[in-house]
Symmetry: C2
Subunit: 302 residues, 2 copies
């Protein structure tokens, strides 16, 4: 399973029983947490997320609605007896904030917490079956967005063709990676004669908080699913710009330019109770849009 579960869809001050930003990406048996607003551990419990499977936590930036729940989550992992290594990625200033609070409670974590400060526009995590890239966004303070990419699956070997061309079995792995084969007589046998493509890798992008910025579209080009913040409705464009946030139309425009397959919008301002109009406005620009609703899981299918 590759999917994303929304744990918090609100911005800043919690309102209308909506929580600050947090989302869990499930990649097979691993869970990745993107942002961790206050109360995330309560949402994790409510939606029966398996604490122990969270291996990587990414913090986009140090506004409280994106990370005030992190120290509580780590403390509870400690109290629940976690033993496995935990990787936390975030702005460099996050580390002393965590350390100061752990020290104040005289807490010695029984598991290793590895902190990785986020660079700019680079692959920050390279797992066996997926990578996570981060990119800089324009926000009031240093901020990042992320892209999770399933690694391209190996090509499928055409059994009849490899036998016919007498390809040695030890070359099969290279064939799966796309290499051509040159035989003893110096004849090149093209890879696409010997293999067929497998399904392309799926991908998920999370914008974090950002001003409307076409550069984001470059980073999230063609992804299977994009979560883009949409703090305001379209009539609040000036306010959005002033606060370094985006509107419905702007989020949907990025999705359209980037030619993504599906869009989720979230990070709604506390001033709005009813969210239907968010969906309507975004769909005017990008029809395949969905609202981020807490507890909902979106499977990433292609």
């Amino acid at each position: 399973m590759f999917g994303v579960t929304i744990l918090g869809n609100n911005s800043a001050v919690p309102a209308y029983n909506r929580h600050p930003t947090a989302q869990i990406v499930t990649f097979q048996d691993q869970l990745i947490l993107f942002d961790c607003g206050e109360g995330t551990q309560l949402q994790i419990t409510k939606y029966k997320i398996k604490w122990g499977k969270i291996k990587h936590i990414f913090i986009s930036h140090l506004h409280g609605d994106h990370y005030f729940g992190l120290i509580g989550l780590i403390s509870s992992m400690y109290l629940l007896g976690r033993k496995d290594i935990l990787y936390v990625y975030g702005p460099v200033a996050l580390k002393p904030i965590l350390d100061l609070q752990l020290n104040a409670a005289n807490t010695q974590l029984p598991f290793e917490l590895v902190f990785i400060p986020l660079g700019v526009d680079c692959v920050v995590l390279n797992e066996m079956k997926y990578t996570v890239e981060c990119f800089a966004t324009q926000h009031r303070i240093e901020s990042r967005g992320f892209v999770v990419r399933e690694k391209r699956k190996p090509r499928k070997i055409n059994k009849e063709a490899v036998l016919f061309h007498h390809i040695p079995t030890q070359f099969y792995e290279k064939l799966q990676d796309g290499s051509d084969y040159t035989n003893k007589d110096g004849v090149v046998i093209k890879n696409d004669i010997l293999t067929t493509p497998n399904t392309p890798g799926r991908s998920y992008a999370y914008s974090g908080d950002t001003l409307f910025d076409e550069n984001v579209a470059n980073h999230v080009k063609g992804v299977s699913l994009l979560y883009h913040e949409s703090t305001y409705l379209k009539n609040m464009e000036d306010n959005a710009k002033f606060r370094f946030h985006s509107t419905t139309h702007q989020a949907a425009t990025i999705a359209k330019i980037a030619n993504v397959k599906k869009l989720i919008i979230g990070h709604f301002s506390s001033k709005y109770e009813n969210l239907d109009i968010f969906l309507n406005e975004a769909q005017e620009v990008f029809p395949n849009t969905f609202l981020a609703t807490e507890g909902t899981t979106h499977r990433i299918t292609s």
Copy 2:
């Protein structure tokens, strides 16, 4: 109105939809927050507590379940446009934790935040109509309990007596404070001829986290209402001691020794789903015991 509203009654890891410790003491038009576990701002919203009226916040100690919600609460006060001064009392290590997080978000508070480090066994707040004392408790890290005392109300003037004894009106205030009056002839007229006592001041004590410690009983002697932590049931006395917490019987024993009028127990361990047995056990020792339940307000009547 003088009363206490429970916002969180659980210890450490949140469980069974119970939240970490926080309680609001209402004294007329002022609100005082005692401890501020993660999610307190959500509970404040849920139970319609008026944010703007919170003037004083006391943090008993730096275990996360007692203060991880503080930075979020302060940040939301900022976002909601608070202008009024806010007083925060806590262990000295709390201040740099708050500062580091405010700086990381580049937040300039538009209101004054005055931090007062807690001493030992002293009056830390002296308001017009009440005081707050703090006392040290025995816990794994430096920790405090608190007592809110309504100031003794002025004595009532006996109108017939003051006229009969020709007491000048400008001396009435001193009479209300309990002074005797000496007339021109040097005759002392005793105060209790001229006034009658008013109702005694009410009081509320909050134990914070503590080992069973008879010294706590000295500090909370005769209070109108005591909240004493009761993390465990009586059969877990060894565990309670090991973790510097109290059991049902121990909390009730303190209430009995201190001869308080009423007891609330809370800070329940996450291992217990059903709390009825907590009440039964405590009532075996101190019958006038109540369970801390979230959203419930206990009026302090005498």
